[in-house]
């Protein structure tokens, strides 16, 4: 991958992980439940499309320290605001996924200059009792993996240990993975609906929506619900053969949508 690099920045009492790659106009990638699990195909696809991708990890997710002091969604949004400033990505176009897309929308609602145009992949935040969001935590790790991507091998960088990894690093990799899952749970447990529909009218950014047709966590019907609620939707794409993390299942397709939407 062209110039793939990791960085650690001091953030509050801990640290913030940041990965970047590619050359060209800058775009932010705000990860979802899989965090930033090293070099993966979506970052590569964005880089190949001519972007300089900057991907900070939210507190507790891969590469960032545990989210102490974060009691509620307000704390998370304030942390995200501070985090994008620290990462130097404020005002850039953003591709945000899953829990990251939920945070991006919350931040965009109260800080319009936080992002430019937005590509949002299966955001959490809405709840339809007739078609509820599935519980990704009341399941085994194996099943959770199946829920996150249509093709379980697409999330290998998160779930699988590298064969050559020393034993002590394997343990820490397991702990990191556990903490990333914990951070997701902290954000969206037990029901990922915190009143965002009352704030969406404040999001003026041009938004392109992406949703995996085989998303086993957030039903595909939510694509239409977001499109109805957001005031400035410029595109909505249902991706065949893609699960919750469509950017992991179909990296080139989602990168192409991002290129079209953000260029």
């Amino acid at each position: 991958m062209s110039g793939y690099a990791t960085e650690t920045l001091a953030f509050r009492e801990g640290h913030l992980g940041l990965v970047s790659c590619g050359e060209g106009a800058r775009v932010t990638y705000l990860h979802g439940m899989l965090g930033n699990p090293g070099e993966h195909a979506f970052l590569k696809a964005l880089a190949n499309d001519g972007w300089r991708v900057v991907a900070p990890s939210l507190p507790g997710f891969t590469g960032s320290s545990e989210p102490s002091g974060l009691r509620n969604l307000h704390d998370w949004v304030v942390a995200a605001s501070e985090l994008i400033d620290l990462a130097g990505v404020t005002g850039l176009p953003v591709v945000a996924s899953s829990v990251g897309a939920m945070i991006a929308l919350e931040l965009a609602a109260i800080r319009p200059e936080a992002f430019g145009a937005m590509v949002l992949i299966a955001p959490f935040g809405l709840w339809d009792p007739e078609d509820p969001v599935a519980d990704p935590f009341a399941t085994t790790l194996t099943n959770q993996r199946r829920m996150l991507t249509a093709d379980p091998t697409a999330s290998a960088s998160f779930f699988d240990d590298a064969e050559e990894m020393p034993a002590d690093l394997l343990v820490e990799h397991g702990v990191d993975r556990y903490l990333t899952r914990t951070a997701s749970a902290q954000l969206i447990w037990p029901i990922p609906e915190f009143g965002i529909s009352d704030r969406l009218h404040l999001v003026k950014n041009p938004v392109t929506l992406v949703h995996g047709a085989k998303d086993e966590i957030i039903p595909a019907s939510y694509l239409g619900k977001w499109a109805q609620l957001l005031p400035n939707v410029i595109g909505a794409h249902l991706i065949e053969e893609a699960g919750h993390h469509a950017e992991f299942d179909r990296p080139e397709d989602v990168a192409a949508i991002a290129k079209s939407a953000l260029s």
């Binding site: 545990e66 935590f137 556990y178 951070a183 749970a185 902290q186 447990w189």
Partner: protein, 427 residues
């Protein structure tokens, strides 16, 4: 060594094909399986059994808290403790315990235990579990990432509420209380003994050791499997430079005692198999939500007992599915349960020897005995209870008593100051 008659209060009439036809005994158990008439009978029989154990001379009776399940019908252990408080005047009551993080504010626990301590004249033990993932995360919607922090803050609030002698403000992360002033105050001063039931979290060992709290390993899997956990706790105690007083430790154990070993094998098979194969039929997806374990526990590779039970139950379910049409693999056999030490079985001498070995090997001075388990009928419960109380307890009750002081046992008001039985009616 103190023997506590501990009751889980399982629902006794789950269908025989429950493990094959239902996903889990906890969280999403089919509400249609609950028969209120069975519930009415069961609660009263179980209260009778606890009162009978008290009459038999157990050092204490014990109750606990679980939600949305057929494993244990006590969403509120304090209600059961209240029902026992005036009918068991000569024994102590161990509430093991109230899942502190589920109370909003946790001050409610401080108040209710203080009430019970007042009613009983100081015969209460206050247990504070984090609570199982099924109870806390899934049934009660607590966030797994913040559960333990919320729990520790709640315990801190309760301890302050019991010990501070002025009205104070509590500005916690999760609890904001402008005026904290618990009325009534507990009879036992500064407060009833605090016991912490744990499932294997390494950070709980450390905390109990530092704070001089009783660590109780409430294992389903017997003393042979529980030894490593208790050793982990005692190592932490030693690291603090304190004496390893066995009364700072507790353990839970299934007991099956009869006149002869053969009789015990015949009598206890069905209730043991009901407990281990039906009451513990927990879906593995409910046992390990991310954030429930501390990073240190993950790093140490410690598997909680609920997690283990659920993993084994789910493995059995999957094995059954894979062999449908070819005969179901059996669940855990009674022979395995006894061989592995999940159930201590035998005649009184054999049981006493094993209990002695358990207590000395694990170095524990408080034994939570399960003389009722599974769908055991009331006559068998009384038999098991009486046999243990009259023929086993005398053989083990002197353990540790001369050598160590039990600093974590209730200290009731002396008679005649104590008043905790119904006054005779005046005609």
């Amino acid at each position: 060594m103190k023997s506590i008659f501990f009751h889980l209060m399982p629902y006794p009439e789950l269908p025989p094909d429950f493990p094959e036809e239902h996903r889990s005994v906890w969280v999403d158990i089919d509400p249609a399986l609950y028969d209120p008439e069975v519930g009415n009978r069961t609660y009263n029989e179980y209260l009778d059994e606890l009162e009978f154990a008290a009459d038999c001379g157990f050092d204490a009776v014990g109750v606990n808290e679980h939600h949305s399940n057929g494993y244990g019908l006590m969403p509120s252990p304090n209600i059961i403790a209240a029902a026992l408080s005036r009918n068991c005047p000569d024994t102590n009551i161990v509430v093991l315990g109230d899942s502190v993080a589920l109370y909003n504010p946790p001050l409610r626990v401080a108040e209710e235990i203080a009430m019970l301590d007042g009613i009983t004249g100081g015969r209460m033990v206050a247990g504070f579990p984090v609570g199982s993932p099924m109870d806390t995360i899934f049934a009660y919607g607590q966030n797994p990432a913040t559960l333990r922090e919320r729990y520790h803050e709640g315990v801190d609030l309760i301890r302050q509420a019991w010990t501070r002698d002025e009205v104070f403000s509590f500005n916690g992360k999760y609890n904001k209380l402008r005026y904290v002033n618990v009325w009534p105050r507990p009879v036992q001063q500064p407060h009833p003994p605090i016991w912490i039931p744990g499932g294997g979290s390494v950070d709980t060992w450390d905390w109990c050791a530092r704070e001089d709290l009783v660590y109780c390993y409430l294992s389903y899997f017997g003393y042979k499997a529980g030894l490593k956990t208790m050793q982990g706790f005692w190592k932490k105690v030693q690291e603090t430079g304190k004496e390893a007083n066995p009364f700072q430790g507790g353990f839970a154990q299934f007991i099956a005692v009869a006149d002869t070993e053969k009789e015990a094998w015949d009598l206890y098979r069905e209730p043991a198999e009901y407990f281990f194969n039906t009451c513990l039929h927990v879906y593995a997806g409910f046992a390990d939500p991310p954030g429930y374990k501390t990073p240190n526990t993950v790093r140490a590779g410690v598997e909680g007992m609920v997690e283990r039970a659920a993993r084994e139950a789910t493995a059995r379910s999957e094995a059954r599915k894979s062999t449908r049409g070819g005969g179901f693999p059996k669940g855990l056999s009674f022979e395995e349960m006894v061989e592995k030490g999940y159930v201590i079985l035998g005649n009184p001498t054999q049981v006493a020897e094993q209990v002695h070995e358990l207590a000395t090997t694990m170095h524990i001075g408080h034994l939570m005995t399960f003389c009722h388990f599974g769908n055991m009928n009331k006559d068998l419960v009384r038999y098991n209870t009486e046999m243990y109380a009259t023929k086993v307890m005398p053989e083990v009750s002197s353990l540790f008593e001369d050598e160590y002081e039990d600093l974590w046992w209730p200290k009731p008001l002396a008679q005649p100051a104590r008043r905790d039985v119904p006054e005779a009616s005046v005609s």
